[in-house]
Structure formats: C-alpha cells, structure tokens
C-alpha cells in the first residue's frame, strides 16, 4: 500500500493536464466491425469518442472481448477502422471523411504489446535503439538516449543481453524502454502486465508512473484488472461491448458509477431489487424492497416512480453496529456466516432479510463472532439506484 501513496504524490507532480493546446489523442466516432466466419457481425469498437490531453494517463477498462485491443490497434494503425477520425498530437492520421489513413510507421507513438514482442535476434540495446535508428537519429545521440532510458527502466546492466536470457519482468522493462525511447508524447499499453506475477506487477506499475512523471507522456493503457486501473489512471474509460459506458476519474467511477454494468464491473457490490416509491429532490428516492423501504440516491437518469430498479451498495459502505431494537431506516439485522481476515480489512459474509447473502468489509481491528446478532446500515448517499439491466 505504500506504493499507492507515493504514486498519488507522483501523479500530482506530473505536468498539468488542463485541456490546453493540442490534445495528445483525439478519437471521434471510431467504429470497427468484424465479420465472423459464420457471418455474424461484431461491432468491436462502436462509435467511440475519446480525448486525451498531453501527459494524461487514461485506462481502458473492460471485460475480455469488449474491444479494448481493437481500439488500441486502430489508434496505432494496425487495424483499419470502418469510420471516424483519429488525430494524434494535432495531426490527423485516420479520417474516413478525408480518406486519410496513415501506416503505423508514420504515427509516431510508442506501443507495448502484451507478449512484449522483443526481437529475439537483437541485443537489448539494439532493441531499444531500433526506433531511433529507423527514424534517422544521429548515431552519436542514439547511444546516450538508449543508455538513459535503460537506466530509467532500471535495466542498464542488461544492455548486452539477448531478450531470451531475461526474466519476464526484465523483458517487460525492455519493452517499456523501447516504447519510450523516442519520446513521442503518446504511448499505448496493451495489458503489459498480465504476463508477470503479482509482486512484479505492482513494482512495474509504480515504475511506469515514475517514468511518466519524468518523461511526461500521455498514455492509453488497456487492462481488465480494476486495481491496476485505479492505481494508474487519471481517467478510466469503462468499455462495454464496444461502447464507453463511463469515462471519469477513478473516484467517480467507483463512487458514482454511471450504470449497473460499471458498478458491478468496478469493485464488489451488494444488490437488492425493488420498486421506486417516491422521488425527492437532488435524486433522493425511496425504494420499496423485500428488506423494507430503502432511502437511496439515483445512480442514472430516466428512472420514475413505479419502475423496477436495483439498489447497489459497496461492501465497505455498510456500517456494522449493534442491532437497535427500534430498527432504524436503512438498517437491517444480520446473521454472521463467516468472517475473513484480509490484512488491511476484514470481510464478512452476512445474511439479511431481503438481501440474501451479502458481503461487508470493516476495519480489521474490530472483529465479530459468527452467529452473533448484529445489524448493518447503509447511508442513503451510498445506496445507489440503477435500472436492472443497463442495456
């Protein structure tokens, strides 16, 4: 957890990302459809628009098959979109209207592949020097720049090795160095850390942020790991079958998900179905459920009285307390099933009327006995109401 703290400080140190001058990347209405062998059409990228400022770190988050890789490959020019425009650092590189479609070597960006894609027949130094060499950087500069970036990536001593002789984590650092060496201002990451183990992953995340603060590039980072997304992102785009469900800062994504899909994909949830009884001011609602009336907050637009909805609460937003005889609002007596010690918190599986089994997190300093009689309460501002299925 110490890394998380330093990352946050680091992020504040990065140059300001106010929508100033030219954005690093502008994607407008990009669409890419695949036709499967059996003829079914897959809209892998479905009219996505996205604007990324200089130095901004945007994470594309979504389940497998939602089109993250396809979008990234469209930006890199490795895939031809069907329509839309793609502008990198103010230069239009794809536009169906203007019939512009440049090849990847003209797009001036760095990319890190899931499989590292290091060239096995070249030494580490040659791998990293390659982007400089092909862009005609003078020989005298190449060596210095390569050594600098290798040092930054913490692998200076590996310069004369072949990729086959490196560990997975080291290979990933080489790939990182290669993508950053020509410093193009925009770097694409396609699940770069999914092949390394948890410990190395955490370390590398930290170093990616460190390098970003030192070099100052904008990043589009694909992952389906929400912890990774939370740690790295300035903004997260949650994708759902080719569309952006929500694009916002990590806190907002977590605390105010735009729909049930996002709420369930990012972080754990407890859910209960009900019917809207009354609407109040500022999105306050009362929902009638099997667990009684719940005071809650509207999570999305277009919900009216009488609609069937679901109420969602995150495990750590529930408060554990002694059961009060009267039975307050948004409070339910629970039966403790099991508790788990998770290090920084405890998790409990509880049973409450109407909710069924629910998961609740509370500080690890407190403890509860299985079988004890307790209650949990969910403050109205953390009980968010969504349409049962968003799409």
């Amino acid at each position: 957890m110490s890394t998380a703290v330093s990352e946050r400080t680091l992020r504040q140190a990065t140059p300001d990302k106010t929508p100033s001058a030219t954005p690093a990347l502008v994607i407008e209405n990009v669409r890419k459809e695949f036709v499967r062998r059996d003829g079914t059409k897959v809209p892998a990228v479905d009219n996505i628009s996205l604007r990324i400022e200089q130095g901004e770190f945007v994470v594309l988050l979504g389940p497998s098959g939602c089109g993250k890789t396809t979008l990234l490959r469209c930006v890199a020019g490795l895939e031809d979109p069907d329509s839309g425009t793609i502008t990198i650092n103010g230069e239009q590189h794809y536009s169906s209207g203007n019939r512009v479609n440049t090849s990847p070597d003209k797009r001036k960006l760095g990319m890190i592949f899931q499989s590292y894609a290091l060239w096995p027949h070249m030494k580490v130094s040659a791998n990293v020097a390659y982007p400089l060499k092909v862009r005609g950087v003078p020989k005298s500069q190449i060596r210095d720049r390569v050594m600098n970036v290798l040092e930054l990536a913490g692998i200076k001593e590996l310069a004369e090795q072949y990729p086959g002789q490196l560990s997975g984590g080291q290979q990933q650092r080489v790939a990182l160095a290669r993508a950053l060496v020509s410093n193009n201002g925009l770097v694409l990451f396609d699940e770069p850390l999914s092949n390394v183990d948890a410990k190395v992953r955490e370390q590398l995340r930290f170093e990616i942020l460190k390098m970003q603060s030192e070099i100052g590039f904008a990043a589009v980072y694909v992952t389906h790991d929400q912890d990774e997304a939370m740690e790295l992102a300035d903004r997260i785009a949650v994708l759902n079958s080719g569309k952006i469900s929500q694009l916002d800062r990590p806190e907002a994504i977590y605390d105010r998900p735009a729909d049930r899909y996002v709420a369930k994909f990012v972080g754990a949830t407890n859910e209960i179905n009900g019917v809207v009884e009354s609407l109040g001011a500022d999105g306050a609602v009362v929902i009638k459920t099997e667990a009684g009336q719940i005071d809650a907050l509207l999570g999305e637009e277009g919900i009216t009285v009488g609609d069937t909805v679901c109420v969602i609460g995150r495990p750590e937003r529930f408060e554990l307390r002694e059961a009060s005889a009267a039975g307050a609002k948004n409070e339910w007596p629970v039966e403790v099933r099991t508790t788990m010690f998770m290090g920084d918190h405890r998790g409990a599986v509880l049973r409450a009327k109407g909710w069924g089994e629910m998961r609740v997190h509370f500080p690890s300093s407190t403890d509860v006995e299985p079988g004890g009689s307790l209650a949990v309460a969910l403050p109205a501002k953390f009980a968010r109401v969504y349409k049962p299925s968003s799409r």
Binding site: E33, S96, L118, H121, G164, S182
Partner: protein, 602 residues
C-alpha cells in the same frame, strides 16, 4: 491462433456499417475488391505493391502456359475440332503405352507402400530404429537425383558390363558355371519396377512416419497387453489406424509415378518399353519436326490421371478428418523385435546401400577408371579422373556450371519471392491474395511435364522468343518450385509472431525495413532449409529441362541424358557424381546454417 484465422476472414468481407460513411468512399473502398487491394497496398507502401506485383507476375506465369496447353489441345489449328482427339487415339501403341505406365505405377506403388510402411514401422515403433538413417531416408532422392541413381544401377547391373553381374559371374566361374552375360539384367521389367519402387519408398516412408507419429501408440500397447501377437496387432490395429496416411501416400505416388521420367527414359528406351511422360517429351523434343499436337494430347492423359489422384486424395483427407487420434506422439511403445532386430536393421541398411551407396560406388569406379569396363585396372585408377570427366569436357563443364548458376539464382529468387509473398499473405488476407496464393501453389498439383510443355508453347516462340535461353529455364524452375518454396516460407513465417513485425512498424520502420531487419533474420533458419531444397531440386530437374534446354543452354539433367544416349560413360559418371556431391555439400551447408541460426535462440 484462432484470432489470426478469424482475422483472415474479416478482412475479406466488406465491413458492415457503411451507411454512415459517405457513399463515395464506400464505393471506392468496397465496391471493387481491386480498389480495396490497391488502397491497402498503397497504405503499406511500395513494399506491399511489390508483393502484389510479384504475386500477379507469378500467377500469370502459371496460368498462361496452362491456358496455352488447353488451347492447343482443343483448338489446335484455330478452330475447335476433334482432329487432335482422333490423332491421339489412333496414335500407334497408345494402348500399350498407357498399360505400361499403369503397370509400372501400380506395381511400384504396392511395393513401395509395403516397404515404406515396414521401414516406417521399424523406425518409429521398434528397437530396430537407426536414428541417423531415419532422418536421411526421406532425403535420399535429393542426395542422389534419380537420373544419377538410375545410371549408377546401369553400371551395376547391365547384362554384360554391370559390375555386380561380373562379380556373380566370377563366383559362378569358380564353381564351374560359365556365363558370358547376365545373370541379372537391369534392362528388364523387374529392373524397371525395382527402380520405380526404390524412388517411391521415401515418400511412403515419410507420410507413414508422420501418420505413426500422429497416432497413439498406446492402442498398440493395449493390444499387445491383451495378449495379441505382434502380427495380429499389426494387422488389426496398426494398419487400420494408418489407412489415411497409406491412402495419401498411394495417391501421391500416382502423381509422382505418372510423371516420373528419369528411370523410364534410361531403361525403357533400351527395352523399347514406352511410358507416357517419356513419349510426350520425345514427341516434343527428340522428334523432328516435333509433334506438339500429339504431345499435348497425350499430356491430357497425364492431367486426368493426376487430377483423379488429387480428387481421391481430397476425399480421403476429408473423410478421415477425425481419425487422426491421440496427440503427443511420444515414442512410448517400442516393440522389442528380439532375434529379428538385427535382420530388420540389416534390411534398412541394405535399402540405403542399394539406393545410395552402391550406385555411388559404381559412379566412382567408372569415373576413376576413365571408361566403363568390368576389367578394372586397379593400379591405373586415377583420382583426377573423378572430376576430369567434367573439367576436361567443355560441354560437360558448361552444363554443370549453368545448372549450378541457375540453381543459385533460382533458389535465391524463389525463396525471396516466397518469403515476401508469405509475409504479405499473412498481413493481408484478402480474397485476391488468397487466389494468388492458390494459383502459385497450383504447379505442385500438376506434372512438371505439363508445365514444361506449357512453357514451350507459351514462351519459346514469338512474341517472347525465349526458346533456348536461360531465362525460360529460370522462369520455369521458379514456377515449378515456388509451391515448395512458399510452403517452406509459410512455415518459417508462422514461427515469427505477428506482434514482432507490428512492434517494428509502430517503432517507425516501414514495410521494407521491417522485412529486412526483423522478418528475414527471424525466418532465416526456415528460409535456408528451403533454399537448400530448392537448389537441389533445380540442379536435378529433368522433366522440364529436357524440353526447355538446348545446346546453347545445357543443364546437367539434359546433358546427362544426351551423354547417356551417345555413350560417354566416364563423363556420365563424373557428372552423376558431381551432382551428388554438389547436392550433399549444399544440403549439409544449409543444414549447418539452419542449426546454427536456430541455436542462437531465435
């Protein structure tokens, strides 16, 4: 990877959701697949354009001669008529010739299947395995081309001057039996069938070995454990499981046998046994004026035979799609042959000796001696004569030089083109590129005789007037062997992860540089191996060479045949030997480079 597979499909189809692009663009990009290919190619830079152009050029080089053959066959003199048909059907000795061909192909097929399967089983499933020989066996026809082998066997078994006959006679003499010729005769049906069989066995061996590796040995173990005898297991389990590979091998042999030229031309001519491919070449090349009409007409029989073989081949493969069983192909059940082990190994060694060592010794003896006789003066043997047959004869040396040069150029161009095209095909699987790929691979399904014939019709005369030039030979070799080259290059390309070239592309390198700096170095082991095979095939090429080569463009195969007909045996032995040595050297070097580059961790 399934993703690349599905990708193959997607790029072909016009993408959906076009309604929201302006119609003009939709027209330009999708309406005509050509426009799409061109647009794509332009985006990929000149290198993609080059790839497409190369593909087109070679597709034309394949199609145009074939079209000429068909036109000639059906519209011989400008109008559609059946005169060719009647001329061909009334061709004297047609029935006998077809019968000869069928008998030779069928009998050698059965024998080769038997021995090929036996050898494969011995090598794969029993303790009689001889590792080195197992690797060498499929290579035998490449180490010593059939024409050299056939001549070697003539040296050994000709009734009067054959070395083996002389030795047998000497032994019989000792026992008081006096013979002046024989007792064995290579110029006989037995000799013909034996040599056909010898050159078919490696194919059967290769395919059945593959079949054995892909089938699960535990079925045999189960049978043995349940008490079945070795013979019973073989008949009831092993052979039925192998039926698909046996079938594939059989049909491959039909393809090979019907256009096999070297052995029948060496033996059959002397015996007055006519076979189809030899007759086609004779009518076209060794008859004056050449009888192109009938040659083309006869080639239709060839096409029909081979077409039928491919048809059944396809059906067998389809119907047995699910019968390749098991997976890993570990060599886990080694049958112990006990007292049969040594005899079995002796049999394997004997085959190797008969097809390689003996003919090689015969060639060396004749060359060393300076002329072909059974009365070898051992003291007068001269080592320099080994090569002087080539060096002292200006025609022989120029034939040797020409072939080597052609093979060097041809193999290099062929492998380069194949590598470029294989990579292009991997990145851009449009319908058109796949059609091009199919067309380029088509010659593998046809006979070299037909291709050579087509080249004579298409390019020898006006407007190209390439007859008697090295260019026509080079083009024909390229067309003939590009299928094998692309198969080798495809395999090499498949070894290289697509993301490796994508990473280079994103790094700012164009297609050409990515090809030169990333793809080629990574594909080198496979490309070198393919280059070696191409080289060997090109130096040993006979069928098309005989039709296309002339006195100004002598190539080894052509010159060996000529020399054989006029009887310069020392030169012949030198040439056969030289060819064999060249092949062994080139294949060894290729193998060495392949090993070394692979070992570098690529």
């Amino acid at each position: 990877m399934t993703t690349t597979d599905t990708k193959a499909e997607t790029d072909t189809e016009a993408p959906g959701g076009l309604d929201d692009i302006d119609a003009e663009l939709a027209m330009a990009v999708v309406a005509s697949p050509w426009a799409r290919v061109v647009a794509r190619a332009r985006r990929g830079g000149w290198f993609s354009v080059l790839s497409v152009v190369l593909g087109l050029v070679f597709a034309i080089l394949v199609i145009y001669p074939l079209v000429r053959v068909l036109i000639q066959a059906f519209f011989g003199d400008g109008t559609f008529d059946f005169s060719i048909a009647s001329e061909v059907l009334n061709y004297p000795g047609l029935g006998q010739m077809l019968l000869n061909t069928v008998i030779l192909v069928a009998s050698s097929m059965v024998l080769a299947l038997f021995f090929g399967a036996l050898f494969a089983w011995l090598m794969e499933r029993t303790d009689a395995r001889i590792g080195r020989l197992a690797a060498l066996m499929p290579m035998l026809p490449m180490l010593m081309p059939a024409i050299a082998g056939a001549i070697g066997w003539v040296f050994l078994l000709a009734p009067q001057a054959g070395f083996i006959n002389a030795i047998i006679r000497a032994v019989l003499d000792f026992f008081g039996v006096h013979l002046t010729s024989g007792p064995l005769d290579i110029y006989s049906w037995t000799g013909l069938i034996a040599l056909y069989t010898a050159y078919q066995i490696p194919f059967a061996f290769l395919m059945i070995t593959t079949g054995l590796r892909n089938s699960d040995a535990s079925m045999e173990e189960a049978s043995r454990i349940s008490g079945a005898s070795l013979r019973h297991t073989l008949m009831r389990i092993t052979i039925p499981v192998l039926r698909p590979s046996l079938g594939a091998a059989a049909l491959y042999m039909v393809w090979f046998g019907f256009s096999f030229y070297s052995v029948p031309v060496v033996l059959g001519t002397q015996m007055n046994v006519k076979v189809l491919p030899v007759e086609i070449v004779r009518l076209l090349t060794f008859t004056y004026p050449s009888n192109t009409k009938v040659a083309v007409g006869l080639s239709i029989f060839l096409i029909i035979a081979i077409g039928t073989a491919w048809y059944f081949q396809g059906r067998i493969l389809r119907s047995n799609r699910h019968s390749s069983i098991g997976g890993k192909g570990q060599r886990n059940s080694i049958t112990r042959l006990g007292k049969w082990r040594r005899p079995a190994q002796a049999l394997l060694v004997l085959y190797f000796a008969l097809t390689f060592v003996f003919p090689l010794i015969a060639q060396i003896l004749v060359a060393l001696n300076g002329y072909w006789t059974t009365a070898i003066k051992w003291s007068a043997l001269d080592i320099t004569r080994l090569w002087s047959g080539i060096t002292a004869n200006s025609q022989a040396s120029s034939a040797f030089g020409t072939s080597t040069l052609l093979a060097l150029i041809g193999a290099t161009i062929g492998m380069t083109v194949a590598a470029i095209f294989a990579l292009y095909l991997r990145e851009h699987r449009s319908r058109i590129s796949r059609v091009l790929d199919g067309v380029i691979k088509l010659p593998a399904a046809l006979s070299a005789i037909v291709i050579g014939l087509g080249f004579v019709l298409a390019f020898a005369g006006p407007p190209f007037n390439l007859g008697n030039t090295l260019v026509i030979l080079l083009l024909c070799y390229l067309v003939l062997f590009l299928p094998q080259a692309t198969i080798a290059a495809d395999a090499a390309a498949a070894q290289v992860d697509r993301q490796l070239s994508e990473a280079s592309w994103v790094s700012g390198a164009g297609n050409a540089r990515t090809f030169a700096r990333i793809n080629i170095p990574l594909m080198i082991p496979g490309l070198v191996a393919g280059w070696g095979l191409l080289f060997v095939w090109m130096t040993g090429e006979l069928n098309a060479s005989v039709m296309l080569a002339g006195t100004q463009t002598p190539v080894v195969g052509y010159y060996i045949l000529q020399t054989f007909q006029f009887g310069g045996f020392a030169t012949l032995a030198s040439l056969a030997l030289g060819l064999t040595v060249l092949n062994i050297v080139v294949l060894s070097i290729a193998h060495f480079i392949e090993k070394r580059t692979t070992a570098r961790g690529i």
